[in-house]
Every structure is written in structure tokens, then in C-alpha cells.
């Protein structure tokens, strides 16, 4: 068994034990934190497809996170007030059903990603980073100045949406749901990475010329990667909104894009469990450091800096490499 695999298994055990313990000891907030971790990790898994497998540094994944969130917010708020979204040419009504919301959230994110991706892929390198950032800012300012759904104040949904057969308001059940989705996404990621599509994507990252030479357009492969990546991040956005029962334009902000990117880099770019490790550490630090000092951002900054400078390849990468050297 490879060292990385051992690390992944250890991580899974820890991330399953913590909520189990919290459940036994009746500590609902720890469950909420685990849920938050799983959702952020899911967003990271999405980005990891574009970033890790495709080498496409998107600084605008908050667009999809926010779209997922607003899909949930808009549908649920219409369902709450029994006012249809649209009456002509055909009737669209709101819904409080999670599976439908998820479906629409992923579809909307994928569609927007197709458009943004098609335009952004004309550029590369730093220009790609910056054009995706520009799209993020457009959505951010649009959400702030569009008054219909709360503008800067955002939208509150008083009751979490429903999932058939589950009581989603119960922290444990909602957590299990997000863990399950994260598990499916991880399984999907590992299948994708080893599929012929994944290999082509990897090749397009390393030497676009050769891929072109065998008759595949790198553009097509990369665009497809962005679309899948966005769909998963969009799903995470819908879940995140449901966790907080609230959406706001902050979900679209460049800081959100930056944070999703941080989960991936912190954990290990391209590593299967990278985003999971990154999100877990981030959520842990946020809550651990917040109580230590009013100026806890300094410590967070120092830790992040330490990871970049001394732990190349992120947490998972560093642990796996150190194992290789020893073994």
C-alpha cells in the first residue's frame, strides 16, 4: 500500500471518529463543524479537477459556489412564499426539495462554466488566473446591486430544505448527507483521474502540443474539465447555503475563491484527499485560533506561510514524500 494511501485512510478514520464521538457526547456544534468541513472539501474537490488535474488555475470558483448557493436561496424563498419564479411562457415554481435543488444548482453552474470557460480558455497562465477573477468580480457586484434577492443583505431561508426520508434539521443526518456526497465526489475524482479523459487532461497540461498532434484539441478537454469542476463546486455551494440557511454575495467574493484555492494548495494540489486535508485543517485552525487572540489572523497567516515555504506539495504531498524518502 502506498504511503499516500495510508495517509488517506488515516484521514478518513479521523474524520469519521470525530463526528461519531461528538454524536455520542451530544455535541451538535462539532457535527456542524464537520459538515462545514465536508462541504468546503467538496468545493475543493471540484476545483481540484480544474486545478490539480488540468493545471487550470481558476481564481473565480466562487462564481460557481455562489451560483449553487443562490440557486438554493432563490428556489427555496419562492417555495416559502408560494410565489412562482416565472409564470410565462411556462410556470416555474420554487422548491424545498434538496435533490431538485442540487440538480438545478449543478446544471446552472455547469452552464455558466461552459460560457466562462470558453472565453477564459482563450488565455493562459497568469491571464487565465486574472480573467477568471474578473468574472468572479462581475458576479459579486451583480449580486450586491441586484435588489430582487436581498442585495448585500443576502437571503435568509428559515427552515433547511428537505431530503426524502431524512430530517435535515438534525445535525447528524445533514452531516451524513454531506459526507456521503463528498464520498461520491472523491470516488468520482479518482475514477476521472485514471480514466482516459483524465490522462488526456493531464497530458494537455504537460504538453499541449503532443495532445494536439494526436488529434485531440486541448481546448475541448480543458473546457469539459472546467464544466465538471464547476458543477461539483456548485453543488457544494447549494449545500453550504443550506447549512447556514442563508446566502449572501460574500459567496461570490474573491476571498471565497481564494479560500477554496487555499484548501486545495494546503492539502496538496492534484492529490485525491488534498482538498479534504486542507479544508479540515482550515476549519480546525479557524476555530482553534479564533479564541486565542483578537489578532489570530497573524497566526493563520504565519501557518499558511510555513506550509508554502517548508511543506511543498501540501500536507498530503509532504507526508507522502517524507515516507518515500524513509522507505
Amino acid at each position: 500500500m502506498s504511503r499516500e494511501r495510508q495517509i488517506n485512510i488515516a484521514l478518513v478514520i479521523v474524520l469519521l471518529t470525530v463526528p461519531l464521538w461528538a454524536w455520542i457526547k451530544d455535541e451538535p456544534f462539532t457535527l456542524t463543524l464537520c459538515t462545514r468541513m465536508a462541504i468546503l472539501a467538496l468545493a475543493g474537490v471540484g476545483l481540484n479537477i480544474a486545478l490539480g488535474l488540468g493545471g487550470l488555475v481558476s481564481f473565480g470558483h466562487a462564481v460557481f459556489f455562489g451560483l449553487g448557493g443562490y440557486t438554493m436561496g432563490i428556489l427555496a424563498s419562492h417555495a416559502q412564499t408560494y410565489s412562482p419564479l416565472m409564470e410565462s411562457p411556462f410556470l416555474i415554481e420554487g422548491t424545498k426539495s434538496m435533490p431538485i435543488i442540487w440538480l438545478i444548482a449543478t446544471a446552472v453552474s455547469a452552464l455558466v462554466a461552459f460560457l466562462i470557460g470558453a472565453l477564459s480558455l482563450r488565455t493562459s497562465g497568469v491571464y487565465f488566473i486574472m480573467i477568471t477573477l474578473a468574472f468572479g468580480q462581475m458576479f459579486y457586484y451583480f449580486a450586491i446591486s441586484w435588489p430582487a434577492y436581498g442585495g448585500e443583505d443576502g437571503l435568509s431561508i428559515y427552515v433547511r430544505n428537505g431530503f426524502p426520508g431524512l430530517n435535515t434539521l438534525d445535525p447528524v443526518q445533514y452531516m451524513v448527507l454531506t459526507y456521503a456526497l463528498l464520498g461520491i465526489a472523491l470516488w468520482f475524482f479518482s475514477r476521472l483521474a485514471n480514466s482516459s479523459f483524465g490522462l488526456t487532461l493531464n497530458a494537455a497540461r504537460q504538453s499541449p502540443g503532443r495532445v494536439q498532434a494526436v488529434g485531440i484539441r486541448p481546448f475541448k478537454v480543458q473546457l469539459f474539465a472546467i464544466v465538471i469542476s464547476a458543477a461539483i463546486t456548485g453543488l457544494a455551494g447549494a449545500l453550504f447555503a443550506d447549512l447556514n440557511r442563508f446566502v449572501s454575495p460574500t459567496m461570490f467574493s474573491w476571498q471565497t475563491s481564494g479560500e477554496i484555492m487555499i484548501f486545495v494548495i494546503l492539502g496538496g494540489v492534484g492529490r485525491l484527499f488534498g482538498p479534504v486535508a486542507g479544508a479540515a485543517l482550515f476549519v480546525f485552525l479557524e476555530h482553534q485560533l479564533g479564541g486565542l487572540s483578537e489578532f489570530w489572523h497573524i497566526y493563520l497567516g504565519l501557518i499558511l506561510l510555513g506550509v508554502v515555504l517548508f511543506a511543498r506539495g501540501g500536507i498530503v504531498g509532504t507526508l507522502a514524500e517524507s515516507g518515500l524518502k524513509r522507505g
Binding site: W21, P28, F29, P147, D153, F246, T250
Partner: protein, 379 residues
């Protein structure tokens, strides 16, 4: 932060904190303590804790958390305080958008929320709740007073502007509700905007006789400094948020003489206020701000209710809060039917006292004022 307590240390330590039953009443304070808007949260916290300390009450514990001015963090902290710290009362939020994110779910979970600052219209009317009390103002209040003052001063076409977000819309609505004249121009600016050259150009191009603006915090500082150098000399009116103790020193001479509206000032003459200003200065070595006074009043309201009722008897505790039987530093204070204040709102003028820029009350704009949304509210 000696009052702050950290519960989430590690999964293993969680078992210990679950059985904390000695406290009679536990308050969770979620406020902004880091980042650009921290000054306001720190003032609310300091005012609140000053009152708690002065009371010397046993059995009141306060857990303080930093929301970083992020709504999703605030929501999550509210979950934490309710689920894990098992607080009875939440308070502390500064910004309307964070309040909109936290208050509805807090009251839905059967907890009390006392607002020391934000008062969005949505929570005063149809969205009101029996367990939500606002100890500061409904957002429109100070702007309505500004409109009333403009009438008295004889202005008939003010140029009005505010940031493009719900509290900004509330501001302009509030001003226009009282203002008898016709606005010469109406502008929504960007949130966090710091360059007002374009707006000043548009004011110049209009035929306004006065300017009303609501630009809280850094935005107001920037506007005032730029306005002072623009060659324009139309009179300015605004709510207290751009003229507060914390930021006046940063504006400097540019603010002197400007009229602004507030429900509190340090020169309101009543024993509670004089004692508050003195003890705040002694303890923290700075003059208290509007926000500090609101934090102080919030704590005293809570303490007054605690003295007569047990928080576990929700109906009795609610009645005790409704009575508002405490010495407010702003003088007379009562709750309207929607649990928002009935209070006087004054006009202040910025003056220089020695080296320090501060405010002086020059007249009363509105007497025993309450908001228009109370009619829509039924519990």
C-alpha cells in the same frame, strides 16, 4: 480577551464542557473584532462589559466571538453559541446584513436576541419576533430625524446619497419620509467606495441647497475630506455614523460644523450618562462612542430583566425586557409594540474641544419617536 472562552479545542475535550450548569444566564456576543470594521464591535463590547462589571451581578456569564464581518461566520458562531455553549441570549451584531442572517434563526430556536446596533426594516415590520429586541434604533430613525431637521433649517432640495445596499435604501427612504422638499438628486454609491470625485461632480452639477449623506465608517471619512476640498460649500447633514467619536479624529477639521443626528451624545445631562462617560473614560482611556453607549444600554436592559425574571420562564423574562426598567444613558427610553425603541433623536454639531473633535447637541429633532413599521408587526 479574558471573557472569551474557547470550547472547541479538540474533539476529545468536548465532553467536559457539556455540563456547565452553574451560570444563571449566559449571553453570547457575536461582534466584529477583527478587520476593517473592528472599531465598532470593540466599542459595543467594551460598553457592554463595562455595565456587566459595574453591576457585579453573580451568575451572568458572557461568551464573546468575532464574526470578522462575514455573514456565514456569524451564522456559524450563532449555531455554536446556541448548540454548544447553550446560551440564553444573543447580542452584539453590528451590521444589518449579519443581523438578517442571524436573528431569524436565533429567535426561531427560542432564544432572545438584543440588538445593540443594527435595525433593518425587515425585522421591525412583518419579520418582527417577540424575542427580538432592538436597543439602538430602527435603521430609518436617524435619517428621519435628519429629514425633519432639514425642514426646520429651510432646505428644500437636498442632494441625497447612500451606499447601494438595503441599509442605504432604508436611509434614503427614511430621509424622504420626513423631508418636505424635493431631492435635487439621488445617488447610490458602491459599498466600500473611497473616491467620491464623481459624486461631488454630480452634486456640483445639480442645483441642490444641501447634501444629505449616509456613508458609515471609512466611506464617510473619505467623502468628508474630499468634499472639504472640492470648493463646494453646501451644508451637509447626516446620521451620527459618519461623525462618531471613533472616526471624527480621522476626519479632522473637515467635519467641524457639520450637523448630524443621533439618539445619544456624551453631553446629555442625566446621572446615568455622566457616570457612564466618566467611567468609560477611566477604564478605556478614550471617549465613549455612540456604539459604546448602545452596548452599555443593552447590558443594562438585560441586567434589569435578569433582576426580576428567570430567563427560563420566557414569558416572564420577555415582559421584564418589555418594561425596559433601566436608566438609559440617552434619557427616556421605552419599547414600541414591535420591540424597537421610542426615543428622542437629537441634532448634534461637530466641534473641537481642546485637541479633540467631538459633538455637541444643538436641538431635538424628533421627540419620543418610533418607527413606521410597528403597524405591520404582530407576534
Amino acid at each position: 480577551m479574558k471573557f472569551s472562552k474557547l470550547t472547541f479545542t479538540a474533539a476529545l475535550a468536548l465532553a467536559l464542557s457539556a455540563t456547565n450548569a452553574s451560570a444563571d444566564l449566559k449571553v453570547g456576543m457575536i461582534t466584529t473584532l477583527s478587520g476593517g470594521g473592528a472599531g465598532l464591535g470593540i466599542d459595543v463590547r467594551d460598553g457592554f462589559m463595562l455595565a456587566v462589571e459595574q453591576s457585579g451581578v453573580e451568575g451572568l456569564s458572557v461568551v464573546i466571538e468575532d464574526d470578522q464581518r462575514k455573514p456565514d461566520v456569524a451564522v456559524q458562531l450563532a449555531d455554536k453559541l446556541i448548540q454548544s455553549e447553550k446560551v440564553d441570549v444573543l447580542t452584539g451584531i453590528i451590521w444589518s446584513n449579519l443581523a438578517m442572517a442571524v436573528v431569524p434563526s436565533t429567535t426561531a430556536q427560542g432564544k432572545f436576541y438584543l440588538s445593540p446596533n443594527a435595525g433593518p426594516a425587515a425585522l421591525a415590520g412583518k419579520g418582527c419576533h417577540a424575542n427580538y429586541f432592538n436597543v439602538a434604533w430602527q435603521n430609518d430613525g436617524l435619517h428621519e430625524a435628519a429629514g425633519e431637521y432639514a425642514n426646520k433649517a429651510g432646505y428644500s432640495n437636498s442632494f441625497i446619497m447612500a451606499p447601494n445596499y438595503p441599509a442605504g435604501v432604508d436611509a434614503l427612504t427614511g430621509y424622504k419620509r420626513m423631508f418636505n422638499g424635493e431631492p435635487a438628486g439621488e445617488l447610490f454609491t458602491k459599498i466600500g467606495q473611497n473616491d467620491y470625485a464623481a459624486e461631488i461632480a454630480q452634486i456640483r452639477a445639480s442645483d441642490a441647497d444641501s447634501v444629505f449623506f449616509f456613508l458609515p465608517g471609512g466611506m464617510g471619512i473619505s467623502f468628508l475630506k474630499q468634499y472639504a476640498n472640492s470648493g463646494l460649500d453646501l451644508p451637509l447633514i447626516g446620521p451620527a455614523f459618519s461623525f462618531d467619536q471613533g472616526i471624527l479624529q480621522a476626519v479632522g477639521e473637515a467635519a467641524v460644523g457639520v450637523k448630524n443626528t443621533s439618539q445619544w451624545n456624551k453631553d446629555i445631562e442625566n446621572p446615568a450618562n455622566m457616570a457612564f462617560v466618566k467611567s468609560f473614560k477611566e477604564k478605556y482611556d478614550r471617549l465613549p462612542s455612540l456604539y459604546a453607549s448602545q452596548g452599555f444600554d443593552t447590558a443594562n436592559l438585560l441586567l434589569s430583566a435578569m433582576a426580576t425574571a428567570d430567563v427560563n420562564d420566557q414569558d416572564a423574562f420577555r415582559t421584564a425586557l418589555e418594561a425596559a426598567d433601566f436608566e438609559s444613558v440617552r434619557g427616556e427610553f421605552a419599547f414600541a409594540s414591535n420591540h424597537h425603541p421610542i426615543q428622542n433623536i437629537y441634532v448634534r454639531e461637530v466641534i473641537k474641544e481642546g485637541d479633540v473633535f467631538t459633538n455637541k447637541i444643538i436641538e431635538t429633532a424628533l421627540i419620543a419617536h418610533s418607527d413606521v413599521y410597528a403597524a405591520d408587526c404582530s407576534f
